[in-house]
């Protein structure tokens, strides 16, 4: 049991290091895209350690406690994440719904903490974040439920193995429309550009993070990196057939995150009502179409 917990914490730490490095490499890639030199690839590590080394103010105990709750909740979620077919900390506990439930703990911790700061921008940011969450989760869940219906299992490892079995395709290919919906929902989850509404630095002064500085902001950055790790890994496992070894996982992870980042950097920002309208129009329609095609007609490539 103790060994399992240690492996779980190791996975969370691995996720943090992986996502922070890939985030730094992506900043470099974006810099080259814009004909700049770009920062060093380890710049994100420097940023986080700098924030942890600064002094910071507190806005009451809810403000501090919420940050710890957010970080703890996200680390607890990452502990259940399988990396490859047979590498996970807790056997049989990699159900998709565990991630859905536990991710909410971290998000609610952040929402509570941001509201505790008493800044109106933070309240607006939290409200927008929850609205965006409502918008992208319905199409995403319809697609994932289709996958669960097809495989008959909701465990991530089983879904991975189902896709890797001979005769089956990755769900990105088997359910092409659903794969696109999944990717758009992933962009929403990551808060990438068209759906960056709840961060919006120039509009609502970085939203929920407006009152954070120093150590609390550093902890939120760590939390954010691990959240991105969880979300991108979910996409890799559900749609890209998981990974049979760690290198395959790294390759798929890098590809998915870089693609999302590149799309993000050529887009503007939606308004909040545009985000909701967009998600309830095209992705929802596509998700329902895909579900009907796959479940009632049985047309799966």
């Amino acid at each position: 049991m103790i060994l399992n917990i240690l492996i779980g914490i190791g996975i969370a730490l691995f996720g943090f290091v992986l996502q922070t490095s890939i985030g730094g490499i992506n900043r470099k890639i974006v810099g080259r895209m814009q004909k700049r030199q770009g920062p060093r690839w380890y710049q994100e590590f420097i940023d986080i350690f700098k924030l942890l080394s600064k002094r910071s103010v507190s806005h009451g105990w809810i403000f501090d406690f919420g940050v710890i709750m957010a970080l703890g909740g996200i680390i607890a979620t990452a502990m259940f994440m399988p990396l490859t077919n047979n590498f996970l900390a807790f056997e049989n506990y990699d159900n998709f719904f565990i991630f859905v439930y536990l991710l909410a703990v971290g998000m609610l911790g952040m929402a509570m903490s941001a509201s505790g700061s008493g800044n109106p921008w933070a309240s607006i940011g939290v409200m927008r974040a929850l609205t965006t969450m409502l918008a992208y989760e319905i199409p995403f869940l319809i697609v994932v439920l289709t996958i669960i219906k097809l495989t008959g299992k909701s465990s991530l490892t089983e879904i991975m193995l189902y896709q890797q079995a001979t005769g089956n395709n990755w769900f990105l290919i088997a359910l092409p429309i659903g794969g696109i919906v999944g990717f758009i929902a992933l962009m929403g989850m990551l808060g990438k550009k068209p759906f960056e509404t709840y961060i919006a630095p120039a509009e609502i002064a970085s939203g929920p993070m407006v009152e954070y500085g120093g150590k609390q902001l550093g902890m939120l950055f760590i939390m954010h990196e691990i959240t991105v790790f969880i979300e991108v890994s979910l996409f890799v496992h559900l749609f890209l057939g998981g990974a049979s070894n760690i290198f395959e996982f790294l390759l798929k992870y890098f590809t998915v995150y870089t693609l999302a980042n590149l799309i993000s950097n050529v887009n503007g920002r939606f308004k909040i009502d545009q985000v909701v309208k967009f998600f309830y129009k095209w992705p929802l329609l596509m998700a329902v179409t895909q579900a009907v095609i796959a479940i009632y007609f049985g047309w799966v490539i």
Partner: protein, 192 residues
């Protein structure tokens, strides 16, 4: 040549250990400076070229930030009227330590072309401590970046300690602020 005899290790005192940790922190702090731009005057026009592909500030690890809490540098670009000075002091006091101030252009140094205007203060240094000045009217992007590199050197050599000065000589600064503004009260509307 080193003696092979066993010599007892010299124990570091607490101050020395603190200093070493502070130096480690200084490495991170000088390589990741986040700006809060307080663009009151015309010098702000020099910042877009120094941030974008021509001079690329991000390669030094610098970038603009949205709020004073997140930022390390308060970049004062241009003249300060009494009205903006009050907001500048609020902003400066909200930033988390260690914090640095960079004065851009000649207006924060001696008033620049606005030196004889009744509503404009001449020396920013009297009200909040300034670590680096970038002189010029307006300074071009090379000198802006050079100023930031100077600030990095200052952090390395521990000469950029304006935030300590502000804490140690707080009464003097407060008196100057009161003389100029009459009264500096930060209204906390949420908790009132």
């Amino acid at each position: 040549m080193l003696s092979t005899k066993y010599t007892e290790k010299t124990k570091l005192t607490k101050d020395e250990i603190d200093r070493k940790w502070w130096e480690v922190g200084d490495y991170f702090r000088r390589n990741s400076l986040w700006l809060l731009m307080y663009c009151t005057g015309c010098c702000a026009i020099e910042l877009p070229p120094s941030m974008t592909s021509a001079y690329d500030m991000e390669r030094l690890g610098m970038g603009p930030m949205a709020t004073p809490r997140q930022a390390d540098i308060l970049l004062v670009s241009g003249y300060l009227s009494l009205k903006t000075l009050r907001r500048l002091i609020y902003t400066y006091e909200q930033m988390s330590e260690p914090k640095y101030v960079v004065g851009l252009g000649s207006c924060p140094i001696n008033g620049g072309i606005y030196h004889d205007l009744h509503a404009v203060i001449n020396q920013l240094d009297q009200y909040i401590p300034v670590d680096v000045y970038v002189a010029g009217c307006m300074p071009n992007p090379e000198s802006v970046l050079n100023g930031f590199v100077d600030l990095m050197e200052g952090i390395k050599n521990k000469t950029a300690n304006g935030w300590k000065k502000y804490r140690d000589n707080n009464e003097w600064y407060k008196q100057n602020q009161k003389d100029a503004l009459g009264e500096v009260i930060i209204h906390d509307e949420f908790h009132e």
